[in-house]
Amino acid sequence: MELIFFFILAVVAILSALLVIFQNKPIYSALYLVLCFLSIAGLYFLLHSEFLAIMQIIIYAGAIMVFILFVIMLLDLKGEKGTKRLRFQRLFSILFTLLLLFFLIGASAHMISESKKTLLNSEMLSSFGGVKLFGKLLFSDYLLSFEVASVLLLVAMIGAVVFGKKRP
């Protein structure tokens, strides 16, 4: 049952990710990217990480994509013209991507065969992924990182305001 859900979500994620690239207009790319993020959130649910799944929907599919859609609406983009490419750009992109995919899959296959014995059965994982454990870990072991992340968000906000200001 879980496997069926996994395959449905994986196929939706891969197809919508491909459609992000092969759309000509940015607005359709953005909408397909929302679909891709939602299916990844479904995969988080399958992995019993409910908190991260909800965060994925709120932050990625909600906030970030609304932001990107706002910018697309503001800028009045005209879509890709497809002139002025580098020579052989498409060919080299395909070759490089296939090479990267080969290495990534090889590396993950290698990692799986090494860490096979540490996999645990699902009865031991009842409290895994809940908000309680997450918050406990976040506010004890990772407290400093949490504070630094808040400073990072402040800096990003100031930077966006500075870039968005009109030049005097």
Partner: protein
């Protein structure tokens, strides 16, 4: 339970699609979207491995990656808007002010 290898293969495919998009697209906003796709692929790998090792630390990392991605999109799109104001284009091939 779905094997870990399926998740890692899915992650590899999604990451490769993101890299391909960055390489082949010349539109700055679509390139930012492809970077988001790559970050999501890495997040999925983190969550899958933390689930299979029964360690919550990977999920904390995903939380921080989401924070950094939000900051990155805010600054990146502000740069795109500023460039569009300056040059009336979002094509990265035409933005060559500092090239020569």
């Amino acid at each position: 339970m779905v094997p870990l290898s399926y998740y890692l293969y899915l992650t590899a495919i999604l990451f490769a699609i993101g890299v391909f998009g960055v390489l082949i697209k010349r539109n700055a906003i679509i390139m930012i979207m492809c970077i988001e796709l790559m970050l999501n692929a890495v997040n999925l790998a983190f969550v899958a491995i933390s689930r299979y090792l029964n360690l919550m630390d990977g999920q904390i990392f995903v939380f921080f990656i989401m924070t950094v991605a939000a900051a990155e999109v805010a600054v990146g799109l502000a740069i795109v808007v500023a460039l569009f104001r300056l040059k009336e284009t979002e094509d990265v091939d035409e933005i060559n002010l500092m090239k020569w």
